[in-house]
């Protein structure tokens, strides 16, 4: 399975903090996973289309073209505001 996490405003917009998807559901890259989630429509389409969303693969910042496989952890989140 592939673990998908959402944080902060994005988590609130989607109403969900994490998902478990099969590799077939998730697709083969981070970008493909994102577009499949957007294809769910409604809040998914809106919230995941934000230009400034960041993503991480296995807790490392990712660009989108990275491949994903079973056991991976993918996270989507807004720009960070710590400190």
């Amino acid at each position: 399975m592939i673990k998908v996490l959402f944080f902060a405003r994005l988590r609130e917009q989607l109403g969900v903090g994490n998902l478990e998807l099969s590799p077939e559901e998730a697709g083969t890259t981070v970008a493909e996973l994102r577009s499949r989630l957007q294809a769910r429509g409604g809040q998914w389409a809106d919230a995941l289309s934000a230009d400034n969303l960041l993503c991480a693969l296995n807790q490392q910042q990712a660009r989108g073209d990275e491949s994903i496989t079973a056991g991976d952890e993918v996270a989507f989140f807004p720009p960070v505001t710590g400190g």
């Binding site: 996490l5 944080f7 902060a8 991480a56 996270a75 505001t81 710590g82 400190g83």
Partner: protein
């Protein structure tokens, strides 16, 4: 000593200063940044922008590793004897301490540069998100363009 801590508890600058120095007498300079929750811009209860409380969310695991990567990058740029980063999460109130970055090294120029470098990157790379409670409700804090430009200047100079 663990260099990076994510915790709900407050911290004491005096205790951290003693840990930063230890018994290493090659340290001549320590630069420390401590960030706090501002109650601004409005001071009074009547101001809809007044911050009554702050909630800090983070991405456990990635938070620690991304900050450690920032610290490692600082160590590759400057000769640093000790570095310590503490970032609080959970619920905080105006005036509360949020973040501590302490750097100990030989000379003051390097101490200031490394401390500011770590803060600038922490502001733009470490996965924390602030949610403010105001008199008119809660809101997520938006990222500031000035933070991105503060972090970017370290790339331009290659210093």
């Amino acid at each position: 000593m663990t260099e990076v801590c994510i915790q709900e508890e407050d911290f004491d600058a005096g205790t951290l200063q003693r840990e930063l120095l230890g018994d290493d007498t090659s340290i001549g300079a320590t630069a420390v940044f401590i960030g706090c929750v501002r109650g601004e811009p409005g001071a009074g209860q009547g101001d809809p922008d007044a911050v009554l409380a702050m909630e800090l969310e983070h991405y456990p695991g990635m938070t620690e590793s991304s900050i450690q990567a920032i610290v490692d990058e600082a160590r590759s740029r400057w000769k640093l004897q000790r570095v310590r980063v503490i970032h609080r999460v959970g619920k905080l109130l105006p005036g509360d301490q949020i973040v501590y970055v302490g750097v100990a090294c030989g000379h003051r120029g390097e101490a200031f540069q490394a401390c500011e470098f770590i803060m600038d990157y922490l502001k733009t790379r470490a996965p924390f998100w602030k949610r403010e409670t105001t008199p008119v409700g809660a809101r997520w804090v938006d990222a500031r363009a000035s933070d991105d430009s503060a972090a970017a200047r370290w790339q331009a100079t290659g210093e």
